[in-house]
Symmetry: C2
Subunit: 366 residues, 2 copies
Amino acid sequence: MSDRRVTLQTVADHVGVSRMTVSNAFSRPDQLSAELRERILAAAEDLGYAGPDPAARALAKGTTGAVGILLTDSLEYAFTDEVAALFLGAIAQELGASGLSLTLLSSSVTTPDVLPARDVPLDAALVYSCEDDSPAIDWLRRRHLPLVYVDQTPVSGITSVNIDDRAGARAAAQHVVDLGHRRIGIVTSNFGVPAGLIDRPADRATGHVGRQRMLGWLEALDAAAIDPVVVSEQLSGEATGRHAAELLLDLPEPPTAVLCFSDAMAYGVVETAIERGLSVPDDLSVVGYDDSPLAARMRPSLTTVRQDVIAKGRAAATELRTAMDRARTGSAGRAKRIRLAADLLVRDSTGPLRHRAAVDGPARTR
Amino acid sequence: MSDRRVTLQTVADHVGVSRMTVSNAFSRPDQLSAELRERILAAAEDLGYAGPDPAARALAKGTTGAVGILLTDSLEYAFTDEVAALFLGAIAQELGASGLSLTLLSSSVTTPDVLPARDVPLDAALVYSCEDDSPAIDWLRRRHLPLVYVDQTPVSGITSVNIDDRAGARAAAQHVVDLGHRRIGIVTSNFGVPAGLIDRPADRATGHVGRQRMLGWLEALDAAAIDPVVVSEQLSGEATGRHAAELLLDLPEPPTAVLCFSDAMAYGVVETAIERGLSVPDDLSVVGYDDSPLAARMRPSLTTVRQDVIAKGRAAATELRTAMDRARTGSAGRAKRIRLAADLLVRDSTGPLRHRAAVDGPARTR
DNA sequence: ATCGGTTACTGTACCGATACAGACGACAGA
DNA sequence: TCTGTCGTCTGTATCGGTACAGTAACCGAT
């Protein structure tokens, strides 16, 4: 008695056909008569055959039906962050329509010898907003998987989808400069340092997006000869926004305008300011980034930089599929560099500089 | 010249060791000398070897490092729905800590012959709030994967994690009854019918959760001899909540209290009521379900039934891991049935029935 | 010198499918 | 009757690893 698992062969023996025919019954219905196929399927059902073993099929066929998405260290970020969720939702929708499943990959090494990016069977992968030098990316590349980079420094040979973050940030900074602000704070994340005020950051952001936005902000501020106060946090949520706000507002000369890396951070800043009795935008102007749903429902509504994350997700999914097609057919299309717009959206959280009675503020004569 | 892909053998030949030793260099560092391991790894690097092929490894080892989660048809729901996202985030966090990756599986058949639940290599799977008779569940079961059911009708032999939804719904209904309401509306989803008013629903909900909540609501209403007006929608978001509210408020005798399947639906109901000039809770009491973040930030804050989705996610992940351990060691632990509490949380969206002067129109005297 | 115990490595036997090139009978056309 | 073609089904050769048992060398203890 075979106590072994039931496999193609088991079914084949039972029906009295070759293993190959059973395989075809499942994967290539056109290769055999409908009648025989029915018989085979029935026998398989009887025997409790679960269909071709996915692992074996993956090995033989070279295809798994799953595409990975590499995320910054914590997986829950994918669901926690409103903007990431919107983006991933769009991807999942596009990909799901092609029958592909989406596998969330953590780029942080968890156990020393388990590396999702190296070990999980995949047909292709998206790299989303990871540190450029992440070892996980190296593994994916070495595997020669069709890849698409999103919110990532473009690399030759790999299609990338980016937002024009630099222009967006520049517009945000220019906006507050135009409103007359001169003491400007920047609240961003992942500039390497633990957390707190940092010196004029050159290129120290660990992420491409953080770097681009910083570049954009500084571009406009430099042009106006303004030296901003920069706070870097570890994460870009509300809590860190609050923390950063405390730091900035405790300064002897607190800023009158704050540029934030995300809407969530901006929310934390606004709330903190309000709790301290300040008025937004009268005492403090705040600009967010992303135009997440939160931005519109805030009170005051948040001036922010809009990016179309849904479009970004759709573009990424589409490009990933063409990359997969290219790999399958062996054709050599060129890698694209897609760049989507980022537009300043002025709402109610920013306003013109109001000269306060306070002593130590820079007394400027408009 | 071997134009072929570089494999273990390629590396082995180059270094002059057996294929097995190269395999060990990657997967069992303790099986060879550090010196040799270094040499092998270096050679692998040189040759551009990408590490053991995941598909082959999965076949040989019987393990992939990925666990699936089966979702109701649309994948984007995982990210779109605030409650689902919270739940999945907790799961991802727990699982990620064990080095496992999470694969989102769509339970709807997309292409005729692509069935994620049947074809994607997986070590185990969670079934989350799917229709009980979904073919995808059958496939997962036939594959003999370690399984955990969440928000799903428990089945013998499979560990399940559920919320005491029936009790929660009963408490919600009892609450409005206690407030004196007699004309009560129910806004739920997925009761099979297209969308609209439905007759007293016996068991027609396609989902376990929908059924349980309906049972709970009816239990309390029956006891009070109240016959509710029931609206069923396709989805459980704000939009459908609005649609349902229109239906209910257009009734000759509109309800004075509405019980909703989700907070998002409740939000839609509240907004619609307010837009129509009604006051919540004076003219209309509304109860939600889930206690999502939305419930607390609504205005008026939403009376709802609280379930701890994070705990649910953690429990599910933990149980899934023990199920995997059981499968690996072959030990035969018993399947558990976990049931978490659901508690009524009274906030500002419900109030005592106010007797109105007007017959059919809400004539209010401010 | 013998022996038990490590450490370091190797050989063989699978894991469970798919690809691709036939084989074979039936049937239409010459 | 012979031949070409089509529709079905089969055999063999991979796909690229890991498990496990075994061997050889080495080392300290008796």
